[in-house]
Amino acid sequence: MTSKSADRIATGVFIVIAVIIVSILVGLFSYILVKGLTHISLDFLTSPSSNVRAGGGIRDQLFNSFYILVLTMIISVPLGLGGGIYMAEYAKPGKVTNTIRSCIEVLSSLPSIVIGMFGLLMFVNLTGWGYTILGGALALTVFNLPVLVRVSEDAIRSVPRELKEGSLALGITHWHTIKTILLPSAFPSILTGAILASGRVFGEAAALLFTAGLSTPRLNYLDWNPFSERSPLNIFRPAETLAVHIWSVNTQGLIPDIEEVSNGSAAVLVISVLLFNLLARWIGTRIHKRITATK
């Protein structure tokens, strides 16, 4: 076989693989959307869910999902970034660093249900909070952190050495170089990592079952006092997210329209993740263009 035909075969194989992947994606996506879109209406999105009657919506679940996502990212992004900066810039190569790195890898492969159990012990029982949004966000932080540390470390490491040396050689401290040269250059990769992580968080159910709970109190969206029990902003209230709702409706739901509700919720979940990704990417590109002065 000549190297030319080998090259052709390789190209063909990769095209076939790409086509398979794309068609699985498109198939899955359209399946979820076709089955779910018909059930999505303004009423579905804005009315509370019902335990027994048909026609319940997902208003609270949708809000809870976004609220827990935002809270999780507020906690886990600074921690993950800090960990990544430490691993990339400060950790001296050696046994300790290697141990830390293996721990991070083990943590990132923990099944989310195990993290849920851990969350139950730590953030529900030990703290005495019961099922809370904060407990859920903390459990998701445990779930999220290893990925974010890894992504930040890789992103910072892949910034060319010359840039770092160039800044240090101008008499700029290590920390200021990290802040003004390394992080801006690593920003696009860190952002991509954070977006992927938030997609995982948004769709996560198992880690939340025993931490944020399966119920939501009757919420009053006009109550903005975060300490009030019926306020949606209260972080010490239980909260059922969209992904958990899909699971609970299917396993223990008593409503007659189980299929419609779960299909509709699935479609909303997918669309939300998509919109969230697009928005984050758009904002990220704008910020990056601004700091690098590329038009």
Partner: protein, 252 residues
Amino acid sequence: MSENILQVRNLEIYYGDKRAVNGISMDVEKNAITALIGPSGCGKSTFLRTINRMNDLIPGARAEGEIIYEDLNLLSDQMNVVALRKEIGMVFQKPNPFPKSIYDNITHALKYNRIKKKSQLDEIVEESLRKAALWDEVKDRLHKSALSLSGGQQQRLCIARTIAMKPTVVLLDEPSSALDPISNAKVEELIIELKKEYSIIIVTHNMGQASRISDKTAFFLSGDLMEYDVTEKIFTNPSNQKTEEYISGRFG
């Protein structure tokens, strides 16, 4: 007798257990261009990177002996490395502009040093770009990305941002080896211009460059300083057999 800016005494540089520079001593003249030549791996770049302590970044690298600058030993543990690098700037082999605008490339270090006033920043940007012979080419696009410049322009921008810090010594590590001949000629012209204000130490693989621009030349071989003399003497009548063989291209 001319003044010396740096005095190197019994400098030994190690990478782990391996010695890369074997106890060299030399004086570097003020407001002159000192060229360091020698085959790859002879220790000249290692020496250069030790002067502003950039070699500290390499795990396992350490230096013994003394490099005296204004009565201070640069190699001392108490040395404030950050302050030192402001006085002794460095330009690298590969142009390494920051992925920011041309303007921000120069103000990056100035802002860190608490120069905040726009008028003052503007002034320093123009002054250093003029000194680096780049002003006329970029004055209309200061806020465009530095990465849109050609390789030669990028290298002159790196020189501009180094001299914006008003250093006393500028270290150049093969600054034009990655450039085309025309850009190279411009950078050489610039370096000669710069010696009026700065003391320059340049590592080069280009014999022609060393003989064209430098006042004194040091020839390194396997970590030893083989010969250090006035450039003209090194290139016309070297005292060391090895120097003659190297500059005439018989090895290296």
